[in-house]
Symmetry: C2
Subunit: 451 residues, 2 copies
């Protein structure tokens, strides 16, 4: 009945075949597949609005999907309903070079936007690794390697068009850089994981391409020493554009997956953006800090192909981690702590992982205090999954004790939902009140984010 109404609206862009449903039921993490009743592929805001109005009337769940690169099962239709595939809404609507902003549809990927910007001297900096859609990145408050310099999607989104549960279309924010005109709806929808509304248009901040970029790599005798280098770098205010930790296991993964040929020791991968003189000065300062903490083989380069190779390797960390145990799935932790607590958090993660006999590789956006343990698991092995669950809970509790958060960038989705009460306490009631106010029939991505 609802499906028929949607078919009347969308024609052959409403898919109910087993193949289409199965394609939209997969995920890159370890969650079981979850079949939607149907897949809707709208092309306009108006169609999204109609779809939601129909599903709202009939009480059918709607789960927005982009590139489906979520690591927390955000896009899985665990209560059935409609997989709202927004990848067809993939137009760059406007670039305003004078104002350093772009207006895009939600299905535009970050790589597509940057390809579009190639000749403008501008770029969009947020880089979670995966070639995610910008709508999905906003919905999950994604970040990645460049957040230490350019911020996360929280800072990158200036304005949104959102379709609410009942189908009403609203606009939040503006292209002006400041506003004191009421409730900050933009930030409310950024990170709401499709549970409060569906993003149908985004206005994003752009940046001028830096005059010069240089990348550096440095190995350390221990993770401790590498982390101490990061802390000193951040506290001295050195303007790094990226500063990434990889532990010895991660390097082994790179060697297996990308034939990196690196010594299997902890490394920092660093990037500097600025003027020619500026990046040289910063790289030299960073080299000095690293040397003070036992860093070796510090090398830096302004050659674009070397930089690209370095970050391509880093971006493939998920696949490289998998190569440490072929056939296994990766459970990725994602705690984020105040930088003063980073050394302790990483040390505990390494120690407790080892004590449990887990195979894991650590990578981290350590300039933000955020790091991931990629734990290799066989989801069918119940005992192993219990070990992993206990370990991830321990890390979450540690992050909370250290004044941090259970997720820096992957989000809650299904995975961390049981820790939301511990994270937020009474504020979880406030979140529930907001959900109830904006989605009273609970049709928007039900079963996610809020326990």
């Amino acid at each position: 009945m609802t499906i028929q109404r949607l078919r009347d609206l969308l024609g052959d862009r409403l898919l109910t075949s087993d193949a289409a449903r199965a394609q939209h039921a997969e995920n890159e993490a370890w969650y079981p597949t979850a079949l939607p009743d149907a897949v809707a592929r709208p092309l306009t805001t108006r169609e999204v609005s109609r779809i939601l109005a129909i599903c709202h009337e009939d009480g059918l769940p709607v789960v927005a999907q982009g590139a489906r690169s979520s690591l927390e099962g955000h896009h899985l239709a665990i209560r059935g309903g409609i997989a709202l595939d927004l990848t067809g809404m993939d137009r760059v609507l406007a670039i305003h070079p004078e104002d350093l902003d772009a207006v895009v549809q939600p299905g535009v990927t970050r790589e597509a936007l940057n390809a579009h910007l190639r000749d403008t001297g501008l770029f969009f900096p947020v880089d979670p690794g995966a070639n995610a859609t910008l709508g999905g990145m906003a919905a999950t408050r994604a970040s990645g390697t460049t957040a230490v310099r350019y911020g996360t999607m929280r800072e990158a989104v200036l304005a949104l068009e959102v379709v609410q549960a009942c189908g009403t279309v609203i606009r939040t924010g503006s292209r002006a850089r400041k506003s004191a005109t009421g409730y900050d709806l933009t930030h409310l929808f950024v990170g709401s994981e499709g549970t409060l509304g569906v993003i149908t248009e985004l206005t994003l901040r752009l940046f001028g391409q830096p005059e010069a970029q240089s990348a550096a790599i440095c190995r350390f005798p221990s993770v401790d020493k590498a982390v101490a280098t990061v802390i000193a770098t951040i506290q001295l205010g050195l303007p790094v554009a990226r500063i990434e930790l990889v532990d010895e296991m991660m390097v082994r993964g790179f060697n297996l997956h990308a034939k990196a040929g690196l010594p299997e020791q902890p490394h920092l991968f660093v990037e500097f953006h600025g003027s020619e003189a500026g990046v040289a000065e910063t790289a030299a300062q960073f080299g000095g800090i690293a040397a003070d903490h036992g860093g070796q083989d510090f090398t830096w380069s302004v050659r674009p192909e070397e930089r690209r190779a370095l970050w391509s390797m880093r971006h493939n960390a998920h696949a490289a981690t998998r190569s440490l145990r072929p056939g296994a799935r990766v459970v990725s932790t994602d705690v984020c702590v105040p930088i003063s607590a980073l050394a302790e958090a990483v040390a505990v993660a390494q120690h407790e992982g080892r004590a449990r006999g887990l195979t894991q590789a650590i990578v981290g956006h350590v300039g933000d205090g955020n790091f991931h343990c990629g734990i290799l698991v066989d989801p069918a092995d119940a005992a192993e999954m219990r070990q992993v669950k206990a370990f991830t809970e321990l890390l979450s509790d540690l992050a909370l004790r250290l004044g941090g958060v259970i997720s820096g960038e992957h989000g809650i989705g299904m995975g961390k939902i049981t820790k939301m009460q511990a994270q937020h306490g009474a504020a979880l009631g406030t979140m529930r009140a907001l959900k109830q106010a904006l989605d009273p029939r609970d049709i928007l991505n039900p079963g996610k984010l809020l326990p």
Copy 2:
């Protein structure tokens, strides 16, 4: 009855004298005084919670107040009730130098925080001019002269403790620099103008004192040329820490009020933060851009006393504007537009002000596209007030047409409430739903922000 319950709770920190009520009924703008029924001066979160629980039960309005430096009447108890004076909660609770953050009570002023930080090498950058309380600044999403470099209170607040309408105490955000753990309650309360909850604790980002600071001043043959200089500066990505426009009338005000002795022409006041070499290089680059646009008498200085004198003069713009027409009140406009539209917006403001015979001085945080017309009025002169109202409406409509906002930093309060529908359209319904969810009895600053 309610008053008696509050007196039982607070003793002599519940004030009902005419003098105390009158003191809390004034404002710096042109709004009529508004007497609260009583003034409550809590010292703890627990007391704030009890006060709200009592007022919630009894349906009595509660209007949070800090330094009462609002220019939009935010703190006026226009429906009576309790003026909740938070200036007694004025302790700096913690400084975390390694993490570049501070935890403060809401009554701490920005100057008090910076005095507290003096020996740490750190500072809190947001600077609206007035020595406002940090709680008030967060509640109104304040910004000011340094936002172009350091952001506004939107970026400065990492975490909050908030007492909700019913008295429930919640914590939002954390000291970690990133989070993907559910709805962004911190940003929802920042800028909510006391209508969703009362802020009782703030965690704020700090910055390291720059190695060098320099200030520059430059006069221009026209506002157009000065604005063109700003646009070029921002579009080239020159790292200015402040870039402020003052028009010829504002300079006249400075000459009258501060004996500035400046030529009565439009000026830019600029500041650069960075390394010694960096500020020299940036100042030289800026000087070149200014010269290209007819800038004259460009001078820059690293002498702290010259810098302080410059910004002290700028901070007293409100008083200086008043000196242009002694006895008059100042109505300050506050539109913010995309930078590409700034020249048009300022030109229209000047032209339309002149056409209406209004006396006004223009100052602007022009790097953000935000500027103020300080219009001198006699609130008792109904015809003049009508002219001013028509002019401010025209500016608001212009800002909306140019893709901007009706308030960049002063907020909505009472003044711009009639333009909220035009600003937000259907999203105003979303804001109303949030207000209804979090303050169902409408006791929190009723009559403000939402029409």
